[in-house]
Amino acid sequence: MKYFHWTPAGWALLLVIARWQKIAEFLAGPLENKMLALVVLILIPVGIIIALKVTAIRKVESRRLQLAITTLMVLVGAAAFAPILAPYDPTHIIDLANAQTLAPSFAHPLGTDEFSRDLLSRMIYGARISLSIALLAITLSITLGTTLGMVAGLTGGVTDSAIMRSIDAALAIPRIVLLVVVLALWDRRDMMTIVLVLGLTGWFETARLARAEVLSLRDRNFVVAARASGVSNVKILWRHLLPNIAAPLVVTATLGVGQLILVEAGLSYLGLGVSVPTASWGSIIRDGRELLFQAPWIVTIPGFAIATTVMVFSTIGESVREALNPR
């Protein structure tokens, strides 16, 4: 209950009442919207619960962690319920002739972009795109990395060296370069493509970590004993090794979400992100880049949003790591 506050809950309730019509629309609306909300709503709380459990065991308490989790809640809420919260449709052109690149004002708290679209709405919807991409991609890459790393560590021999040399090679190419090359393979860049590409190019470090952890556990007596009892390799991986390497993986995943948000933003900035009209934060920056001098807020605001989100994930990840590493 430490992380639950009544004031935000009250605000949330007020919001529900004030926006009940939008909520009804949202519930009746397209499946995709609800799926995205679900993704964000499930993955992050699961992460937070794991993080809290780990930190609670080691009794780490810090104001920073509390602040980070509260901020994350707000972000997640905004992302999940974008259709309810956003004042405008993010693709709606308000008035091309008269409302282009308006500075922040009461009507448009974050101003408008060059197509006279409301920037606040675009930011809220962008949160969803950026967060969902990062979360789905990290899920994919952690799963992939853990599986391959554990298999490499447990089997050893040729499989191990094949996997490890491929990983060495993949890690030798700088991430953005690799992404730029791999993204050229897809002729359309919808969200799933980006998730896939980010996930498929992000598992290498995790695999190394998982392998190292497995190697340190492989000859521990409880694993040997399990094998002596006739437990199969798959079950050893799943029941004995995975639970024991989960903690460092949770740290990697949490820190990885932040890094993925940065990478995705970088790709969008290079014009390799998700295509319009659903903009991620990175592509809002890209769209605003040419208006840097005339409408600096278009570039500035998403940058702050990205930095804040990454900070939140870094703080949580590092708190968990501190909790695991008593020094």
């Binding site: 409880f222 040997v224 004993a225 399990a226 094998r227 002596a228 009892s229 004995h240 024991n244």
Partner: protein, 329 residues
């Protein structure tokens, strides 16, 4: 030695470990260097030696937890090294291992009950409904409170953990258990309890043990026969009482002289070994024990020709050129 009805039969077992990868043949450590023995059903064979002498490796080879380089391991007449992995898994039900580090041999993220249940599930030895009651019965058999089944390993004491490990080993109703220094990490007070438990379990379940120890005092009261290892080879194999009264090999004699005796007035000839065990990677050409041998008669023959393990008295084998003139203790 009654080979006909042996449960476990090990012939000329060799195992070496590399340090520098597969190209590095010179640097290999011969942990086990041609060992032959057998264990009869219901018997307890003790395996004694200093750390690094290769005794744990033998235990692991028998269970095929490591694959030996050469030699034969037969369990109940079946060559286990020739078995496929699924047949091997079936056979594992009949042979179990208990390690020195009890807490470490339990998965820290698994509750004790689950750990005991796991082998039963793997070998499908009980229906879903019975598993739990079987587990509780096993805990009771090893003298553990059923409440403890909900605990994590780090919440148990060393003795409790070792009992849990024994319960897990028993869960598959094995015939043969390798006890790899089962009490070495325990408090002396607990050591006796666990040894007694093992002995009573052996009687009740007609178990066969291979008891690995670096400490002769543990072996004395629990083993029928004892094999003494030095540098990957057996130097003496004998029934327990004879070994303790009149050791044939000077190394055994030296080990025995170090064992504290209950009667401090009894006069003893203490044999102190000089130097350290030579590194296993640069094995001397003659008797491996030559450099440290306290025997007054050791000579050129000892330094040049490695003595074979020969039967000197019925049921008593030793690898020493002067086995007929043993050192007295």
């Amino acid at each position: 030695m009654s080979t006909s009805q042996a449960l476990v039969e090990v012939t000329d077992l060799k195992k070496s470990f590399g340090t520098g990868g597969w190209r590095d043949r010179d640097n290999r450590i011969r942990a086990v260097d041609g060992v032959t023995f057998s264990v009869a059903p219901g018997e307890t064979l003790g395996l004694v030696g200093e750390s690094g002498s290769g005794k744990s490796t033998i235990g692991r080879c028998i269970l095929r937890l490591t694959t030996p380089d050469s030699g034969r391991v037969a369990f109940d007449g079946v060559d286990i090294l020739a078995l496929g992995s699924s047949e091997m898994r079936k056979l594992r039900r009949r042979m179990q291992i208990v390690f020195q580090d009890a807490v470490g041999s339990l998965n820290p993220r698994m509750k004790v009950g689950a750990a005991v249940k796991e082998p039963i599930e793997v070998h499908r030895l009980a229906t879903k409904n019975e598993i739990n009651s079987q587990m509780l019965a096993l805990l009771a058999e090893v003298g553990l409170d059923p409440e403890l089944s909900h605990r994590y390993p780090h919440e148990l004491s060393g003795g409790q953990a070792q009992r849990a490990v024994i319960a897990r080993a028993l869960s598959v109703q094995p015939d043969f258990i390798v006890l790899d220094e089962p009490v070495a990490a325990l408090d002396v007070s607990v050591q006796g309890q666990v040894l007694n438990l093992l002995a009573s379990l052996q009687r009740a379940r007609n178990l066969t043990y291979l008891l690995i120890a670096h400490d002769l005092s543990v072996v004395r009261h629990t083993c029928d026969r004892v094999a003494v290892m030095y540098l990957g080879r057996f130097v003496e194999v004998s029934n327990t009482s004879d070994l303790f009264t009149s050791p044939l090999h000077p190394y055994t004699a030296a080990l025995l002289s170090a064992v504290p005796v209950p009667d401090p007035k009894k006069k003893r000839n203490r044999i102190v070994l000089e130097g350290e065990m030579p590194s296993v990677s640069d094995r001397p050409s003659g008797c491996p024990f030559y450099s440290r041998c306290p025997h007054p008669k050791k000579n050129d023959q000892c330094s040049n020709v490695a003595p074979e393990l020969r039967e000197h008295e019925p049921g008593r084998l030793a690898a020493c050129h002067f086995a007929e003139e043993p050192l007295s203790i």
